[in-house]
Structure formats: structure tokens, C-alpha cells
């Protein structure tokens, strides 16, 4: 009876899983970097701010939608009105299509924040944040596959380049780094 060549099957699994989950790996890796730096940027939207000084801002103290639309025409936002309200006296907030405007009705200081979806990252982040239940299952499968990829990767080579050689050094280092972090920074 022929001996079961587990190394061969290990390579096959590692290779085919690598091909199949290539896209998922990129999705989670890129969105992971993007979300890691969420305090430094908005990973899903490009945010553009514009500032204005509105003369005679008192006229917008208790403004009707029509009046607010007049304000929007002053700042080139015609047709973008959604709704408005006063978060506190003297402050008008207008929801725009993909953005918002805030006006201090006492000083006339106005700021507009416009959002536009980042071409790639919006969709990557959307997928990263579990957009639905079926995606949850698929991403769980991907997570399981990553475990298999990791295990099949470390046992793939034998000899000096494998676990008996430098492989074990890298393996220990890779495990030690998070452990050191836990020990000293937790």
C-alpha cells in the first residue's frame, strides 16, 4: 500500500486556498490598515470642508425650509437640501445630500462638510464591517481557511528552511511579539 504523501496534500491545500482566498485576504488586509488609522482619517469617505461668512445671519434663526434653501443657494448648494434643525439656540444644522452645513446664526460663521465615497476603500470597509448574515458565514470560512493556511504554511518545508531550521526562529519571534506587547503594554 502506497504511503500517504501528506506533504503533497498539504501543498495542494495551501496553494488552492491561497488562490481562492486571495481576494478576501486583500479585502481584510487593506480595510484593516484603513480602519487601524481611523483616528487619523475617515477610511470610507473623503471629507471636504468649506468655510463661509454669512452676512445678516439672524434671518436664519427660525428659518423655514424655503428660507434655508435660500441660504444654500448662497453657498452653491442648491438642490442639496434634505432637512434642518437647531441643535441649540443660535446654531442651525442643515442636512445636505452627502454632507451637512452648520451656521452660527449669531456670528454668521458657516461650515460645510461634504462627503464623497472613497473609490476603493468605501467598499472594502463596507465588507469588513459585516454587511449581512451571509457575509458573516463567508468571512468565518475565510477565517477558518486562514488558520489552515497558517498551519499548512509552517509545516510545508522540511530541513533547514522548515521548522527544524530558521522556520522555528521566525515562528517563535512572531508569537513572541504579541506576547511581549501583552506583557508590557496591557
Amino acid at each position: 500500500m502506497a504511503k500517504f504523501n501528506w506533504r503533497k496534500w498539504n501543498r495542494i491545500i495551501h496553494r488552492d486556498f491561497g488562490y481562492f482566498f486571495f481576494g478576501m485576504t486583500l479585502i481584510y488586509a487593506l480595510s484593516g490598515i484603513a480602519i487601524n488609522h481611523i483616528d487619523d482619517w475617515n477610511p470610507s469617505y473623503q471629507v471636504e470642508n468649506a468655510y463661509y461668512e454669512i452676512t445678516n445671519p439672524e434671518q436664519f434663526k427660525q428659518a423655514s425650509p424655503e428660507k434655508v434653501k435660500e441660504l444654500l443657494s448662497l453657498v452653491d448648494e442648491d438642490g442639496n437640501y434634505k432637512k434642518h434643525y437647531y441643535p441649540r439656540p443660535g446654531l442651525l444644522k442643515v442636512f445636505l445630500k452627502k454632507g451637512s452645513l452648520v451656521l452660527n446664526t449669531q456670528t454668521g460663521d458657516a461650515s460645510i462638510e461634504k462627503l464623497s465615497r472613497r473609490p476603493l476603500f468605501f467598499y472594502l470597509n463596507y465588507l469588513h464591517y459585516n454587511p449581512g448574515s451571509w457575509w458573516k458565514w463567508f468571512s468565518d470560512i475565510f477565517a477558518g481557511a486562514l488558520i489552515i493556511l497558517a498551519i499548512s504554511g509552517i509545516i510545508m518545508n522540511k530541513g533547514k528552511k522548515g521548522l527544524k531550521g530558521r522556520g522555528s526562529v521566525y515562528l517563535i519571534l512572531g508569537i513572541a511579539i504579541p506576547l511581549i506587547f501583552l506583557l508590557f503594554y496591557r
Binding site: 448574515s133 458565514w137 481557511a145
Partner: protein
Amino acid sequence: MLSRFSLKIYYCIERRYCVSMHCEKTKSKTMKKLLFSLAISSLIWVSCGNQEPKSQGQQAENQEQVAAVAPKALDIDNFDSLAPNLVDQLIEISGTCMHTCKHGGTKMFLSGNNPDFRVKVMATDESGNFNAEMEGSDYTVIGILDEYKVDNAELDKLEADVRSGEQGEEEMKHKTHEGEGNKEGEHADHQGDDQDQNQGEMQEQLEQINHLRARLKESGKDHLSFYSIQAKSYKEKK
């Protein structure tokens, strides 16, 4: 000449046959490998919690037991009076999306006629997350109404957690955040939106706990209720 030609053809046929035989073998091997990989994938799928298929009897039994549940309407403008009777039930609520969580869109706040009163809606796997483009538009949300009760014992526990630097402070912040427009935490301007995401200092948390203690005392009840909705679905009202 003819025999030579015949031999050539024979050679070609033989070679093609051999090549095709080799291909067949390779194909078969590739198929086996592919099937093996697929089998492993299926195993992961199964181990990830796929339930066993139900027998026909079980299915019929379940069909008898399952009755369609229509969500109960919860008027956002009468939220405080209606909510206590609808806890843990499937509800439908409509309002304007006033704010969405910038960190992944895991929650949003709905308002009715009073923009200072806000209802927190939490995104789930079923609903999918919210996004910043929803702000200012009207939405109908179907979901389960959750109640988080805060009594003196809970406040004591939270205070102990805050003082010891445990996670309780953040938990409390999330559970008791009502998103009320006229409160300090409200996002009055764009700068305020960003500040909403920052963790408060311990002193701030303790002040919030004291504020809750005062509210509890004022209410004359043994607990304060903080409601939120676990969204199952949401749809923009056109």
C-alpha cells in the same frame, strides 16, 4: 512513400493518443486535488455551525409552531410612554436619521418631531451597518426593542469599574448614550461630531454616574431605563 506517410499518421495518432491519455491522467489527478480542497472547505463550512438538515417531520412540526409576527408600531413622538410595554418585542419605528456612528456605522440615532429626543438604533448582522449618507433622511426601522436598566447597584458597579479603570465606563457610555441634542455630548457642529468618538476622562465618567444617580433620585423609581433598538432591517422613506 505511402507507407512512410501512413507511419507518420500512425505516429501522430499514437502520440496524440498518448498525450490525451496523459492529459486524462493529469486531469483526473487535478480533479482529485480540487475535490480534496473542496472537501476541506466544506468541512470548515460544516464546522462553522451549519445545522443538520431537518427531517420532514421536524419541518412540519416547526411550521405548525411558527406564526408570522407583525412588528408593533412604535410612534417615536410617544416613545417614552409606549416603549415600556414593547420591550423585547418586534417593533417598527420611523424617524429622521440624525447621526450615524462614524466608526463603522454600527449605530444611528432617530428623531421625530423633537430633534432633541433621539432613539438609538444598533446595527446587526441582519440589518447591515449604517452609513454617513443616511443622515438627514427619514427611515423606517424594524427591530427588537432593548431595555438597559440602571439601578443603584448597577451604578455602584459602574463606579467601581471606572475607578479601577475597567471596561465598565465605555460600556456605560454606550448603553446610556441617548444622543439628546441639547446635552453636552450632542454633536452641535462638525467639530462636535469628532469629539463624540473620544473616550472621556475618568472624572467625566464619574460626573456622568453622579448625574445618573441624581436622575434616578428625581425619577422616584428604583431604576432608569435606557432603550435601544436592535435593527433587523431598515428602509428609507421616500
